[in-house]
Subunit: 121 residues, 2 copies
């Protein structure tokens, strides 16, 4: 068994606009499957599949409420995305710095990271 990086599943889940819309909807709070399905021109099973993808990526969790399975957003994978982005953030936050200087700094940081073993693409 090899656990493909959590980022694989997270980015793949986020690549679909229906699933991003579902996450956006869940920012307003819990919602059932039918409530989540309502805005979409799509069958209920299709939405259930999307929810499974989100759940497998850890982006939502579900509880039981009678027949309903209310979903709520789980933000943890997004923190991983945020952390992954960190590596690149300097590239656009330092728009007015000279690029070559910036890259030198980043290379130095990379050396430091390698020295302590942190390495995930």
């Amino acid at each position: 068994m090899f656990s493909t990086s959590g980022l694989d599943a997270t980015f793949a889940a986020l690549a679909d606009p229906t699933r991003r819309a579902i996450l956006a909807r869940l920012m307003e709070g819990e919602a059932s499957v039918l409530e989540l399905a309502e805005p979409f021109a799509m069958s209920q099973p299709a939405v259930s599949k999307h929810l499974k993808v989100l759940e497998n990526a850890g982006l939502i969790t579900r509880r039981r409420d009678a027949q309903r399975r209310p979903c709520r957003i789980d933000v943890e994978p997004l923190t991983e995305v945020n952390h992954w982005l960190e590596r690149y953030r300097a590239l656009w936050e330092a728009k007015f710095q000279r690029l070559d200087v910036l890259l030198e700094e980043l290379k130095d940081e990379e050396q430091a990271m390698k020295a302590e073993g942190g390495n995930e693409a």
Copy 2:
């Protein structure tokens, strides 16, 4: 012709670990196709395909240098990811706030955004 959200292409491109590794490599500066292919147990055409995916997502640009087509990272789509993440950032940055209070605040913000028309899943 309907232009599927740039986020679709960006997230899909980032969902593959080979492509994320290529981006990480490009943080060290420009690299040719063969240079980028070298670390991977994968044919050159496979890497060329990955580069095309990255290029279509706007994550890299290529120039011509004799026979080589050096690639460089283009960070703009990552800024879009960063912007998309903004909506959710409060959820993990405010871990110690009461969740219901937080969600109320977010709903208010959403009303404000709707009022001025900003809406992208």
